[in-house]
């Protein structure tokens, strides 16, 4: 523990030799990268390329087989793969946000929208109803959900609204880093556009640091500064987003980029 000021000279997140095996099957292998504060990294690749596994390892949702995930937390540099569970849980409900592909996994469906947003606040010790309510209303507005829906259950929301609610419920504690696992997949294109737009605004307004896992290259380009291309559990290519998408080098990346239809 090195006090309350994160060391700016260090990256926000440093993933080192990270591997995850499911039995003999490889989830992801020997992953190395760094994320700077205020940076958005996109991880792209087809289904089964290990990108979600990588994100879950970083979030501490699954145990890694090997390697480290150093997080420049408010408590100093912490290896999320080694730190004790108490600290990990504390970090994941304050300084790390995690938005899942299925909102059912990331929201409490039997709790109102306001309760879902308020949960992280209450988990961090806020005990004033009016204050929680006020912040929840502000966040509904930020993610473009009508504020009169605050007491409705997420089950009455459309898929896009649920995702936006999930984002609000994660961002409400102002996490240092937010991890997103395919936030736009499974949504209609028009609904996707709105979600991406909301995300884009939040990213630029709040200077979010984010790792975004997606198979949608257009989403990746719009939101990320840099891209990592994964194939069969390994990173095959990385670079600035325009470098990867406009000047792909690796055969797999070229295939990926050329496979996208441009309307």
């Amino acid at each position: 523990m090195t006090g309350n000021v994160p060391d700016k000279s260090l990256p926000l997140l440093k993933v080192q030799n990270l591997s995850k095996f499911y039995g003999k099957n490889m989830g992801c292998h020997d992953i190395n990268f760094e994320l700077a504060e205020g940076e958005v990294i996109g991880v792209v690749g087809e289904s089964g390329s290990g990108k979600s596994t990588l994100l879950k390892c970083i979030a501490g949702k699954i145990n890694t087989t090997n390697g480290s995930v150093f997080f420049n937390s408010l408590y100093g540099f912490v290896d999320l793969c080694q730190c004790d569970e108490l600290l990990l849980r504390q970090l994941t409900r304050t300084q790390i946000g995690y938005v899942t592909q299925n909102s059912v996994d990331g929201l409490r469906m039997n709790i109102s929208a306001g309760g879902n947003i308020g949960e992280r606040l209450m988990a961090n010790g806020m005990r004033n109803y009016s204050q929680i309510r006020k912040i929840a209303l502000e966040w509904l507005e930020k993610v473009e959900i009508e504020t009169n829906r605050i007491d409705d259950l997420p089950t009455t929301f459309s898929g896009g609204m649920q995702q936006r609610l999930q984002i609000a419920a994660n961002l409400v504690t102002d996490p240092k880093i937010i991890l997103m696992d395919e936030p736009t997949s499974g949504l209609d294109v028009s609904v996707q556009a709105r979600l991406i737009d909301v995300l884009r605004k939040l990213v630029s307004r709040l200077r979010l640091s984010m790792i975004l896992v997606t198979h949608d290259l257009a989403v990746a380009r719009m939101l990320s500064h840099r891209l990592y291309v994964m194939k069969e559990g390994k990173i095959v290519e990385s670079g600035l987003s325009d470098q990867i998408l406009d000047d792909p080098r690796e055969p797999y990346t070229q295939l990926l980029v050329s496979s996208v239809l441009k309307p």
Partner: protein, 237 residues
């Protein structure tokens, strides 16, 4: 006069893995220096590497060999080796780039698209909007379109939004990739004036213009990209 951009021995080839591994050599040991308050026109047929050179300077394309030294905040930085954070900073403050096509973001108003570079530099929303309105007016974008997303705009309108976005903030180095391609004569003149103003205020402009008339109006040094190889000394201007 000291150059603000020194390109030293750069090469670029593309390997098309899925088209029989074809290797396209676009630039081969290209070197050149660029100076503040000067304009350089890149000439040559399609495939000569004009756009490629601009994109390499902007680090949108990766450089295989050589160095691209950019004067950024009083120090020279090699774009080929620079860290992502440095490149973001250079793109924010030092190098402006106007592409051939606007990358339209759905649901974002034309005005917001235009003022984004200023917002990112930390300019206040109201100041940025005022500047945005000025430049949109100057480029003759009807006021009733400002709050609409550029998705539905015509090609010419989109290009003017793109130019407004490129010229709203000033950059020591400006890269222009066929900025006048789809413009009518009036707007074309406006854009040429914008470019001349940028040069007068000290920007180093590097551009691709297909229109012969535009080239003549702008003046400056012309570089024939088909020659591929340039000795650094011969381009001192």
């Amino acid at each position: 006069m000291e150059a603000v951009l020194k390109i030293i021995n750069i090469s670029k080839d593309f390997v098309l893995h899925h088209q029989d591994g074809t290797r396209l050599q676009v630039l081969d040991h290209f070197s050149m220096e660029f100076f503040p308050g000067k304009i350089t026109l890149l000439n040559g047929p399609s495939g000569a590497g004009k756009s490629t050179l601009l994109r390499m300077i902007y680090a949108g394309y990766r450089t295989c060999r050589g160095n691209i030294m950019v004067k950024h905040k009083d120090h020279f930085v090699d774009m080929v080796q620079a860290s992502p954070a440095t490149i973001y900073d250079i793109r924010l403050h030092t190098i402006g780039y106007v592409s051939q096509f606007l990358r339209v973001v759905p649901r974002v108003s034309a005005l917001d698209t235009v003022i984004e570079p200023l917002i990112q530099r930390g300019v206040s929303e109201s100041k940025a909007r005022e500047k945005g309105r000025q430049i949109l007016r100057r480029l003759r974008i009807p006021e009733n379109l400002w709050h609409l997303s550029a998705t539905t705009f015509s090609g010419g309108e989109q290009q003017r939004i793109n130019l407004a976005r490129g010229f709203i903030a000033s950059y020591p180095i400006m890269l222009l990739d066929e900025p006048t391609a789809s413009l009518d004569p009036d707007n074309r003149d406006t854009v040429l004036n914008l470019i001349k103003e940028a040069v007068r205020s000290g920007s180093c402009v590097i551009g691709v213009f297909h229109n012969q008339g535009d080239q003549e109006k702008i003046g400056g040094r012309a570089v024939d990209m088909t020659r591929k190889y340039f000795h650094p000394t011969e381009v001192e201007h």
